[in-house]
């Protein structure tokens, strides 16, 4: 078996490793006791989460009026945050599913953490529409089931209902995809466990996995099938989210480019969040050899590409507003740029269109502090994109007497902070107790893409073609005898 990949391609695993070293590098931080920094971070996240719980309690007790919404601006921060979090959730599935179908080897270093991030982001996103219902104890009304209210069914024509199906399906499929890939690594943890609780916990979570040939064969088939299902799914989820707006008749929302525009934006912000998390994770857990500069550069390229698509969408939007000759459409965009919220539009353009252009420089693409700053800039920009679309299409509606300026009040802010708490609490627990890198996938690409193994290929690549052919023929002749 010749594991051959040209040395022209950058190695995916740096340093000289064997299978056991890979296991040690990734698994041993889990077996240690959590450090001081981890406890501080967890405490901080839990505080944010508790503040969020308090804000949500306040909102539920008094009604969603405490958020600052009014008759003109009925959707504000909460739906902005919903779209923002769902968008962030898109990178994980893109990495695990679409890059699997495209056979991109570099996904192996980042897929586990990205998929986990997806799940936590979608969990955060789900909070917003649920609590936005106000009377949250009636939330089950969105489920279609035979009931004693008529039966009163849900409206299958409504994109808001499509959203319920899309987001819940997305969450379920993401969890299945993530966990099925996690099982073999949990089995590794189980076999290494020394403490009683660890043996019990990882024994329970590993499902009795042993890594037989048939198990692996089925796992690979399952991964391929879930990848095939997730690829259209991930594109459909944000398309459906965009239809919440696009199927309405509000100028600024009623646009046919919304689905691809939203999907590109989602991947753009999702990859930025993956960068934010992985740059910290690789540093703290000393995984620089697995999440290499090459990985960071590859993700920066995707940020650049999707950023370009988003910029294109902004231009198209403006052009069509002008070209359509619809005064309301033109008005919406006029007020977007020159209205009292001009600063939000400036932030949006600076963060999403101007800033990513710096990634044309290879030096900056491979610069870690710069990438870290950019990843946060992009997510600020993408938050403002949703804010601009939602609030700035509503605040100057059809009747000038109803025009308002919208600012959030503390419970709405607290709710947003609370979802950060939820997200980081989940991520910290995951990063401490489960491998953030798919160990078995790293093992399976190690001999092809590991640095020390690739160096063995230098000698082969330096030979002339004739010499190489002769050698191989000679080997075959020897085997045949």
């Amino acid at each position: 078996m010749l594991h051959y990949e040209s040395t022209v391609r950058e190695p995916l695993i740096n340093g000289s490793k064997d299978y056991h070293q890979v296991t040690e590098d990734i698994i041993s931080p889990i077996e240690k006791k959590p450090g001081k920094l981890w406890w501080i971070a967890l405490g901080f996240s839990l505080t944010m989460l508790l503040f969020g719980v308090w804000s949500v309690f306040w909102e539920t007790y008094w009604g969603i009026g405490v958020w600052g919404e009014n008759r003109t601006v009925g959707w504000a921060w909460d739906i902005t945050n919903f779209v923002w979090w769902v968008g962030i959730g898109h990178a994980g599935t893109l990495i695990s599913a679409i890059l699997l179908l495209f056979r991109q080897g570099w996904r192996t270093g980042v897929n586990r953490a990205a998929e986990a991030m997806t799940i936590f982001a979608v969990l955060c996103a789900g909070q917003f529409p649920v609590w936005h219902m106000g009377r949250v104890w009636l939330a089950f009304f969105i489920l279609p089931y035979p009931n004693s209210r008529g039966p009163l069914w849900v409206n299958f024509n409504s994109p808001l209902l499509w959203d319920v199906f899309a987001v819940s399906t997305y969450l379920t499929v993401s969890i299945l995809f993530w966990y099925s890939g996690l099982i073999p690594d949990v089995a590794t943890l189980r076999d290494r466990a020394k403490k009683k609780f660890a043996k019990f916990f990882y024994g329970l979570c590993s499902f009795g996995w042993r890594g037989t040939a048939k198990e692996w064969q089925r796992l690979e088939a399952l991964a391929l099938l879930l990848a095939g299902l997730s690829t259209p799914l991930v594109l459909s989820v944000h398309s459906v989210v965009s239809m919440d707006f696009a199927t309405s008749v509000i100028p600024g929302w009623h646009e046919t480019i919304f689905p691809p525009y939203f999907v590109a934006g989602a991947i753009f912000s999702g990859f930025a969040m993956v960068q934010t998390l992985l740059i910290i994770t690789r540093r703290i857990l000393h995984l620089e050899e697995y999440v290499t500069l090459g990985h960071i550069e590859a993700m920066n390229k995707i940020i650049m590409l999707t950023g370009g698509i988003v910029a294109m969408a902004y231009i198209t939007e403006l052009f069509i507003a002008w070209y359509s000759n619809v005064v309301y459409e033109q008005g919406a965009f006029w007020w977007r740029i020159l209205g009292p919220y001009w600063w939000a539009y400036i932030i949006l353009i600076t963060c999403n269109v101007a800033a990513p252009q710096l990634f044309w420089f290879k030096k900056l693409r491979r610069n870690i502090p710069f990438t870290f700053v950019m990843s946060i800039v992009v997510n600020i920009g993408m938050w403002f994109e949703r804010f601009v679309i939602i609030v700035l299409s509503l605040y100057h509606d059809f009747m000038p007497s109803a025009w308002v300026y919208y600012s959030p009040r503390w419970p709405e802010l607290g709710f947003y902070i609370g979802t950060f708490g939820l997200f980081f609490t989940c991520y910290l627990l995951f990063a401490k107790y489960f491998p953030v890198i798919a160990v078995w996938e790293i093992r399976s690409v190690l001999k092809r893409s590991g640095e020390s193994y690739k160096q063995q290929m230098v000698a082969i690549e330096q030979k002339t073609t004739e010499a190489f052919i002769q050698e191989v023929q000679h080997e075959h002749a020897v085997v045949a005898h």
């Binding site: 078996m1 409206n155 499929v173 076999d191 499902f207 996995w209 040939a213 048939k214 692996w216 399952l222």
Partner: protein, 197 residues
């Protein structure tokens, strides 16, 4: 499930493992299973395993999801409670597309994953015998089942000759059972037939 005896050889590299597996089959020993820390491509062919039919199951579940969504929504909107929503038709097929798609994916993903668990006989809390403590780390393990006609010493020598770094004879429960890894010792005391020798 039956308690059986196995001759277990562990290998350090998959490049030693695959030829050894082929030889086991040529010689005719009863190959119980091969355990690897990652999917070794070509191993299933060497073991003579057929391709899994999981994909077909996925398709059937998906079709079931499509049918459920389409028939369900049509029945609700046309038969159960025809509701006038802004004068729109009672059977708006294009509006059914997103939910039909989502349910197709949901049924297929959930169904296939459950089938995957069932075929592999894996579930939370299931316990199976681990032949080598590092089989999920860096060791490649062949387990050969001992039959009345097996000469254990011969099999041991055979594995060593084919590159095994370590060969052991183990008696183990071949199927799965419920139990906790943390209570392994206690479990084996009360069920001595399942202890590993």
């Amino acid at each position: 499930m039956a308690v059986k005896q196995f001759v277990v050889g562990s290998f350090q590299d998959e490049e030693l493992l695959v030829p050894a597996v082929k030889k086991v089959r040529t010689v005719g020993y009863k190959l119980y299973d091969v355990f690897t820390p990652f999917p070794v491509h070509g191993l299933d062919a060497a073991m003579g395993l057929r391709q899994t039919a999981l994909h077909t199951a996925g398709f059937i579940y998906g079709a079931l999801g499509t049918a459920t969504a389409l028939l369900g929504m049509s029945w609700i909107f046309v038969v159960s409670w025809p509701l006038d929503i802004g004068g729109k038709p009672h059977f708006p097929l294009p509006a059914f597309v997103p939910i039909t798609f989502e349910l197709t994916v949901l049924f297929s993903a959930v169904g296939t994953t459950l089938t995957f668990c069932w075929l592999n006989q894996i579930m939370p809390g299931v316990k199976k015998h681990i032949f080598h403590p590092r089989q999920a780390d860096d060791r490649f393990v062949i387990a050969i089942e001992v039959t009345p006609r097996t000469n254990i010493e011969e099999v041991k020598q055979f594995l060593l000759n084919n590159g095994a770094e370590e060969v052991t004879v183990q008696t183990a429960e071949e199927g799965w059972w419920y139990g906790f890894f943390s209570r392994k010792e206690k479990y084996e005391q009360t069920n001595p037939q399942w202890s590993v020798q």
